[in-house]
Amino acid sequence: MATARPVRAMDPYAEQFWTFTLSRELRLQQCSACGKFRWPPGPTCDRCLSDDFAWSPLSGKAKVLSWTTFHRGYFPEYPPPHTVVALELAEGPLFISYPVDVEPSDLRDGMTLELRWIDATDKFGEYNLPVFGPSAARS
């Protein structure tokens, strides 16, 4: 059964991003004119203002930039302690997620993590939440 998660911020572009997660695909908009990836989803390329884009699949590889552990509960869905990680995706954008199968004390600057999926649901319906764990072959 899908796990309840705090509600997503929804708009037409975010809706498309989350629809891809139903088939466990992590895709971001990539500008067709200049090639820049953007996140969060939106109508135009912030570099060249083109509104042509494709939803390009990502490698799912990311490097750890920073992290924090909540010791106070903010959401019933995430009782403390809950650790959140800031990642730099291989394709460029920074991405907030949470780490799985790794203790916060084992997180390191620049450590490579790989995409995993968590079955999730909120008032907009079921989806899969992209999270990140240690790569099978550690770099």
Binding site: A9, D46, S66, H71, Y74, H82, V84
Partner: protein, 400 residues
């Protein structure tokens, strides 16, 4: 940015507007109930207009002006300009709004353009009475997407965003928790010299380290207060500011720059600590005022979190990047030190007035006569505002 600011147009605006009156509510008294206990969140005692009105009356009295002397109005983000004007019986010829630094800059521009002469800048926030939430499902702050966008991953709260910032600073520069703790300890020391401050109990570095983490590596005392209060500031065209009740405090420099590209991704927050905006503002504010960081006698920074001070000190050139943890040691940022910072106790220990309470404190320091809280010989004061990379700075100087 391709287009630069115009230093030649900024320069003549120096000292054209003065702060002539300031008023604040009774932060400490209003934080405690009749029996001296801390009032609970959600225990409604005030609304924001009550607090703003009280502060406005006090600022007018401080200036020795009447409300009919006011021809412009700026209100803080929690108030409606229309409702505020109506309550105070004002038909302003010009109005604006936003944070305190933004309002002072905009009022200075409006006065110089000839739209008005005397502007009341007024803020009131009954955030404790209303139990305003800055994290979780009821999070506010719709204008800043990163405050709510990552809720599905359990990530909200401005404190957690600053925790990511400080963790990154630790990783890059080896900054320690003990070093950061010196900020909360210094501001508390200042609050204990300020009878109007909410927090009056001294805080040692051991107390700081013993307090619980909220979003690790940030602890309880790295976070600002949640309290009710109001602030008002009266600014006036400089030639009309002489011979009033108080010595005028001149608006001698200002600057404004926002680092919004990839803001929701947190790129400027985590990659450059918003120093792009800081450097841009520094290049405006110091030359306009004709001073350098070495000339600043008293400093205040937006401090919803202690971490803000590290970012400001590095970004404005008080120390090198990565060295703020060392800089804040040994009493340097305390009254009597080389650069007294947030001398009222700031938002960590005096009152969380979202930039507004820093202005009256800097004004009072430049007027002089603050007793044991006075920074001796203070002539130049700087405020740095940085909320998620929306950066402004003001330099005030002691008027004649």
């Amino acid at each position: 940015m391709a287009v630069s600011f115009d230093r030649a147009r900024l320069a003549p605006l120096k000292d054209t507007v003065a702060v002539v009156g300031v008023g604040e509510t009774d932060y400490g008294k209003d934080y405690r109930g009749a029996g001296g206990q801390t009032v609970s969140k959600g225990e409604a005692r005030y609304d924001s207009y009550t607090l703003a009105s009280r502060a406005l009356k006090r600022a007018l009295d401080d200036a020795g002006l009447k409300k009919d002397d006011i021809d412009g109005l700026c209100v803080g983000g929690t108030l409606s300009g229309e409702r505020a004007s109506e309550q105070w019986g004002l038909n302003p010829r010009w109005s604006g709004g936003g944070d305190a630094a933004q309002c002072i800059i905009e009022a200075t521009l409006a006065i110089n353009a000839g739209l008005c002469t005397t502007v009341a800048l007024v803020y009131g926030n009954a955030q404790r009475s209303m139990d305003t939430a800055y994290g979780g499902a009821r999070v506010t702050g719709g204008a800043i997407t990163s405050y709510f966008y990552y809720a599905p991953w359990g990530m909200t709260s401005q404190g957690a965003l600053y925790a990511l910032f400080f963790q990154r600073h630790k990783l890059l520069y080896g900054t320690t928790d003990e070093q950061l703790g010196a900020v909360a300890v210094a501001f508390r020391k200042h609050a204990c010299l300020n009878p109007n401050a909410v927090m009056q109990k001294p805080l040692t570095i051991q107390d700081y380290l013993n307090a619980p983490y909220i979003a690790e590596p940030l602890r309880l005392n790295d976070y600002c207060l949640i309290n009710d209060g109001g602030v008002a500031i009266i600014v006036r065209r400089a030639d009309l500011a002489r011979d009033l009740k108080q010595r005028p405090v001149m608006v001698s420099g200002f600057g404004w720059s926002e680092e919004n590209v990839d803001a929701t991704q947190l790129r400027p927050r985590l990659k450059t600590f918003y120093h792009g905006a800081h450097h841009d503002v520094a290049a405006q504010v110091y030359p306009m005022a004709g001073v350098t960081p070495k000339d600043v006698d008293v400093f205040a920074t937006y401090d919803s979190f202690s971490v803000h001070l590290l970012a400001s000190l590095e970004g404005f050139g008080f120390c090198k990047e990565g060295e703020a943890g060392t800089f804040v040691q040994g009493g340097r940022i305390e009254i009597g030190g080389e650069l007294p910072c947030n001398t009222s106790g700031g938002m960590l220990s005096e009152s969380y007035m979202q930039s507004w309470n820093h202005q009256p404190e800097l004004v009072r320091q430049l007027r002089g006569g603050l007793g044991n809280r006075q920074v001796q010989g203070a002539e130049v004061a700087q405020y740095v505002h940085d909320v998620a990379g929306k950066c402004k700075s003001l330099i005030y100087t002691r008027g004649a």
